[in-house]
Amino acid sequence: MSDTARHSPHHVDVKEFHPRAHEALHNPQIRQNFRKAMDGLMTKRKSAFEGWDLETLRDLGANVRMRALANLPDLLEQLEQKLTENSIKVHWAVDGDEACRIVRDICKARDAKTVIKGKSMVSEEMELNHYLKEQGIEALESDLGEYIVQLAEETPSHIIMPAIHKNTGEISKLLHEKTGTDLSNDVEYLTAAARLQLREKFMNADVGVSGVNFAVAETGTLCLVENEGNGRMTTTVPKCHIAVTGIEKVVPNLEDVSALLALLTRSATGQHITTYFNMISGPRKAEELDGPEEVHVVLVDNGRSSIYQDDELLDTLRCIRCGACMNHCPVYTRVGGHTYGTTYPGPIGKILMPHLIGLDEGRHLPSASSLCGACGEVCPVKIPIPDLLVRLRQESVDGDKLHPAKVRGHGAKRNAVEAMIWKGWSWMHAHPGAYRFGTNLAARFRMLQPGKMGSWTQFRTSPKLAPKTLHEQLKERGQ
């Protein structure tokens, strides 16, 4: 399997952003589902931070993440050592393929046929389910949202709420068709029915696979945030637990976790606290009643170390995967997660995915933003998302000779005609005489202004040139 195919979930063509956006924009159900869900999440986030000094907390969060990243190589070494001391087996994976093979080998060594999965975006990145299926191992998602998405044979459309694009009616119909539950709009009934089906699978699963929210270097502890208890069952019921995580999730100390956790749950779902917070520090000990016999951690690079090399792009790795940037993004709210065609959608996806798939594949991602800044404003760890989008736009067209491009696939969006237009534009605006001549001429002949101006006038009237420019009016005033 090629590297790029691996990172486009289910081999969706990332470049088909426009047709998918068109489809989503003309689907009233999708528009309504997202608007309603995101409005709700924005309101909940706002009220969850009431009474908090949010800016100070965000500064703290940003500092924790920046400090961790500044010492990332050392922290990873410390983490490996502590995890090993805790009898957790550590594996390193350069990319998604290698990570998949590691999971497969652990499963094969135990002769495992079934895997139960907690929620993990890295496993989506790896397309683990797809891979395991090819290897004859059945992987079942246990997070309710992920389970729904899996039943529908789709990918998650949000990193926290995978099935946010579906409403209750659609979910009821899906569960009815796939599992034979009764059609119902009673959320409690549907949840209970799904839980019943999942619980049975839990008892028989050979291996549990989970993600990791924070890996604490000081103590060799894996922290897992979740709401449904499925994560806890995934990591305790099967005899073998495999945690997969990006290498950037490490933090130096246990103390660091409290600030990040307070920001994570409030930013994500507007919860003051999560229902379950698991701290995994090793396999079952002799005197303990539950827990797996063996615990593995797969530390996945998959392009992260190349981001790490760049002082500016490095900020991308601060992300704690709360999804607040998506919830507040006016573009994401209109088109939904599947439009992006990438594992991570929305603003964070636009700055993260180009590194994973290359700017040639992901060339439309950085431009699909109005740079309104809402994502940067709500990011709990202050990732300057709009600035990074501009940086990636510059790399997409190789538009800055002073700062040579570094991201794989750079220059893929460069187009000779567009480059010429900008060159002409630049020349005219760098020569005041030419600019005044041009603008005065345009004002003089404004009656000849075309009524149609491409995609602008498809939806709007064209702006009207004024009879006299400000330059002229002020010149006449003697200024």
Partner: protein, 259 residues
Amino acid sequence: MADPIKLYPSKPSKVYFFGTCLVDMFYPDAGMAGIQLLEREGIEVIFPQDQTCCGQPAFTSGYHDEARAVARAQLGLFPEDYPIVVPSGSCGGMMRKHYPDLFKGTEDEVRAAEVAGRIWELTDFLLNVCHIKLKDAGEPTTVAMHTSCSARREMGVAEVGPKLLGQLDNVNLVEQVRAEECCGFGGTFAIRHPEISSAMVSEKVDALVDTGAREFVTTDCGCLMNIHGYAEKNQKAMSGQHILSFLWDRTGGDKGERS
């Protein structure tokens, strides 16, 4: 993002005026209104005739060499230590926030940072540096306001417009739902992603119409062009004006008094 703490200068006797290319060609009235409001406050306004554009369109499109050439041509136009006022949050944001990065590592680095430190969004300058007091001379009216994303988030002036409008006795300012949401302009975004942009502006126009107001004011010509243009094309009862034109007209223009 907005400055955590903004240190306003004391009211100067002179300012430089950077008109922006959209004001220059499409909305010169807004520029004139801004200049006249400053003059009415007793400030001498200097308009360097060699100014063109801040370079933002090329910058946000990724053409930084081209943006730098244009921006460099502006850097030499403000030799004295006077504040530079800009009737636009987005051009102001470009000059204040992005010039230092754009020129980092070049011989213009220091000059760019120095110019950036003197850039002010004009309504912010009128309210917080000039401490302007407006006297309403108009008929009772209801307006909605759209603050541009750059004015709101880059320049941190979201509170300024409502405060200025609040000084006008006969103006009823009404708030739209999701006031902080982008109108979908975003410079070349509106051209590169026309359908998404139109979905955004259509919801913005609906939100404005739902306030019951029939006109809106805004800090930025890009948003004005987008929202007004969409409303006009779709025959919605909503027309727009730059906030500076509105303030100038409401306070009697030339006949307005300083109080």
